[in-house]
Subunit: 229 residues, 2 copies
């Protein structure tokens, strides 16, 4: 008898965190439908990294979804605003993209409902993070509530679950988890402001958190290493 | 002194309901940013109708946003499934598009936050409606909660408000409201399965609700009349 695997939609940016989540969803036995957004971000290198991650799992399906949030402006990730470097601040930085995770989770929900998946994975963290409000537990819980009120499947008694397995992990713990799951970190991309050849800057918020994670975990980051050769 | 108008994003499908909501937001003094989705619906006539509505209000801005939900399938509005005709049923019909209003509200939220609007209008009704779960008050309230947890603006103490002014109105009341607001109903499009020239079928759920509304309001529907000439 073949046991049918449960389907899951996994939001995959190509960064370190979502790549760890992809590996975790697969290790938990889900049939994975990865979803990456071409949302008007300045750097195609992110999408290339996402494709390299799913290429490592032949059973996973992968959709790149077009949706141009850059037409609204409002973020250093979608416009030509400067990305802050080496800044210590408790303010939400200009790299925040208005309501990005709400948009991404909504499209993931539409996809999930259409294919019969009831599980959605997202790699947000609220510990070592940039302070983005759409990465916090209360937001994830509120979105799960929306999913369970606004869909035909939920109306029929099924329940959607938004999994955010990294939400209470430090970057160190995320690196260790990814290491145990054999995530190929060399093929992940985290930097907000890479060089044209994709080399990470090492100074933006996102690089700094990643470096902190690898340093605290006592591991070498192959993406950072190769970039410096 | 010039008083700055408050900005609002109005979801505008080109149907009767959202056209009434557009007129209402304008009559309430908002500076309106209308948002229409080219989401893979089978009928371009809807988008044309939306453009005709905003053309009547020169001060309103209008964005048509591309986002192809049809690639996920799962609905008679985005695939070649048959649209049900003259069906009495309490089930949610196959014209339901998975999580459509969640997706639309999310993009509206991103747009609103980027331009500094805190008010979003949507023309859903939970009285004379097709039973779609993403048209009910509990869903709208849950989405408002998401907006007020998952955005930088809300984090800074501002509040988003999702206005659904038709949510407890019958179709008769919506027709009467639109009539008072001088909505040009001839330029609205409601039908799920129009003829190639845009003529409404008169038999799908959406046409039947519209016909009921005009009949009960004692008014003639110019869109239906012209289609029969």
């Amino acid at each position: 008898m073949t046991v049918q695997k449960k389907k899951a939609v996994v939001l995959l940016s190509g960064g370190m965190d979502s790549s760890v989540v992809l590996a975790q969803a697969i290790s938990h036995g889900f049939e994975v439908f990865a979803l990456t957004f071409r949302y008007g971000q300045r750097h195609q290198v992110e999408i290339d990294a996402a494709c390299k991650q799913t290429a490592a799992f032949p059973a996973a399906r992968h959709t790149v979804f077009d949706l141009n949030l850059s037409q609204f402006g409002g973020s250093a990730l979608t416009t030509d605003m400067d990305v802050p470097k080496n800044v210590e601040s408790s303010d939400i930085p200009v790299t925040y993209v208005p309501a990005r995770n709400t948009v991404f989770l909504s499209v993931a929900l539409s996809y999930a409902e259409a294919i019969g998946a009831r599980d959605i994975f997202i790699g947000v963290s609220s510990v070592d993070y940039s302070g983005y409000p759409d990465c916090r537990p209360a937001f994830i819980e509120a979105f799960e509530q929306v999913a369970n009120l606004g869909t035909k499947a939920a109306d029929g008694g099924e329940r959607f679950r938004i999994h955010a397995p990294l939400i209470r992990l430090t970057k160190e713990e995320t690196v260790q988890l990814g290491n145990r799951l054999n995530v190929n970190f060399a093929n992940t991309h985290t930097c907000y402001d890479p060089a044209p050849n994709g080399t990470p800057c090492g100074e933006c918020d996102s690089c700094r958190l990643r470096i902190k994670g690898f340093t605290e975990a006592g591991l070498i980051d192959p993406a950072m290493t190769s970039s410096k050769e």
